[in-house]
Symmetry: C2
């Protein structure tokens, strides 16, 4: 298990003690959007063997959050977009804390044909590594 404090990639990142704090941080979600689009684009590029840019949509990400059994950390009325934000926040948080790496993330994703399953496996992995 890596020590998040020691491996932080950037100094601006807060250290949270609960999953809820991470996945409801809207600022983190906006940065997470950029991170998620890059890994999704790299996943598609690797699958199609051609450089490709794409946005991971909220349908895929909210479904992935459910599959990874992380939906339960959000209030029941949370809409699909906020569920996608939660997924993006968690993925970038794990990366910023130095617990995951982009290439490793993409290599994990390409084991799955389906993007939802690919993101679900990343989310489960991030949750596990955060150890919260």
């Amino acid at each position: 298990m890596l020590n998040p404090k020691k491996n932080k990639r950037f100094s601006f990142i807060p250290t949270y003690k609960t999953v809820q704090e991470i996945i409801t941080d809207q600022n983190l979600a906006t940065l997470g959007d950029a991170y998620t689009n890059l890994i999704y684009s790299l996943y598609l590029s690797t699958k199609t063997r051609e450089p490709t840019g794409a946005k991971a949509n909220s349908h895929i990400l909210s479904k992935a959050l459910k599959q990874a059994r992380l939906r339960r950390f959000l209030p029941s009325r949370t809409d699909r977009h906020k569920q996608a934000d939660a997924a993006e926040a968690l993925l970038v948080y794990a990366w910023l804390q130095g617990l995951t790496a982009i290439k490793e993330n993409v290599n994990m994703m390409i084991k799955y044909k389906d993007a939802t399953e690919a993101f679900s496996s990343l989310l489960s992995d991030a949750k596990k590594k955060l150890d919260l």
Copy 2:
């Protein structure tokens, strides 16, 4: 000098022999858009000390391309958006080839208050490392 072939981050990336080939590859530019948005977001996050997501606009990127003296590799009628695409393609190409790293890119950018200068320095660095 790193050997690009040995350090490629992903197998899908073509190896180009000229700057023109890189900066006019539209597929590379779409992936470069995702990459550029992430490093720009990390630059802003570091400056404001708060996680922030943002898109690097074509004004900033086309100006940076000129400042880095790379505009001359494009035909004279190339519009601003294609100039920005060129910058994005070059930045992601250098990263995909393993010649640059995200943290190193962001650390270089934060030396500059101005985003155009920050991107200009990255582009010059990428061009130098590509050795084309």
